[in-house]
Symmetry: C2
Subunit: 179 residues, 2 copies
């Protein structure tokens, strides 16, 4: 951030009075520009004994498999965001059943909120951000070509919970990849 989005003056990085973290501050119009983590909302769409994954048609991780998920928009609930992303990426209609995983990814300031959801029909197809969408049994999940570690971690919990016949909420943390 270089300029104040309110008045166009140059901003400075400084700790405002009463605060303890540096913020971008405008000395002209006095606005403090806070920057906060973003929420990624999505779901695990279930159909009988299989789940739906999408192969990404966009960067990053073009060509790799993921769950339908994306940035929550202003004015939405987390459930609306998860349903919208599932429609956009897989043209699929699900009924959300429960919040399933909450992962913090502090090094990129993101929080993933992933629901379980029941597909209302097997009528789905690749949306414009997907190359293809496909149902996988747990033993068919393409672990080597998943797009993101948060997706692998979510699916690992899912496979284990399904084996144990006991789904529960999981919270967790994704750390940076070692260099």
């Amino acid at each position: 951030m270089n300029y104040c989005s309110q008045c166009g003056a140059k901003v400075a990085l400084k700790v405002p009075a009463g605060d303890n973290l540096p913020r971008f501050v405008c000395d002209t119009c006095l606005v403090i520009h806070y920057q906060n983590p973003r929420i990624v909302a999505g779901c695990i769409p279930e159909w009988e004994d299989r789940i739906l994954l999408c192969r990404r048609a966009i960067e990053p991780q073009y060509g790799l498999w993921t769950l339908p998920a994306g940035f929550m928009e202003n004015g939405e609930t987390i459930e609306q965001a998860a349903l919208r992303e599932t429609r956009e990426e897989a043209e699929a209609d699900v009924e959300l059943t429960s919040l399933y995983t909450v992962f913090s990814i502090p090094h990129i300031s993101q929080v993933y909120l992933i629901f379980r959801g029941s597909l209302r029909s097997a009528d789905f197809k690749a949306g414009h951000e997907s190359l293809e969408v496909q149902l996988f049994r747990p033993d068919e999940i393409p672990w080597e070509t998943l797009a993101f570690r948060v997706i692998s971690a979510t699916l690992q919990h899912y496979v284990e919970d399904r084996q144990n016949d006991g789904f529960r909420l999981h919270t967790g943390l994704i750390l940076p990849t070692p260099c």
Copy 2:
């Protein structure tokens, strides 16, 4: 938003190519400025049969009671944010036990993530954003002077679950107050 925070040029509100929502776009440096919901993280600090509330020393809702909670910062996990807010507002040290409520407040683009937490000691006092902090039994909760409806909704679940001796995750929605 009036000016591009990257280059200082005027921004325009328009739907970018491949998108379906209006965004603030800079036609000079081509940056798209996305705006997304913010996370408020906090906890219900428990001590024996009581919970800790804070009376706000800041606006909005100066003088009213709330749970320790505040905006999650970049670079944090949700757990770190909840612990930090509890330290800042109540100078209290808790051990988080489980994520308890997840409330969307779409009209102000916020998502509240509130944990249950066990106070490690009864050594707490008002932080600089609190007028006072106090332990309340469920039947002492000051319902009429709570600061926010999301806090009332969270505490209603808490009181009910404790009566039923069965705590579970709750997800919910706070709508605008009728005019």
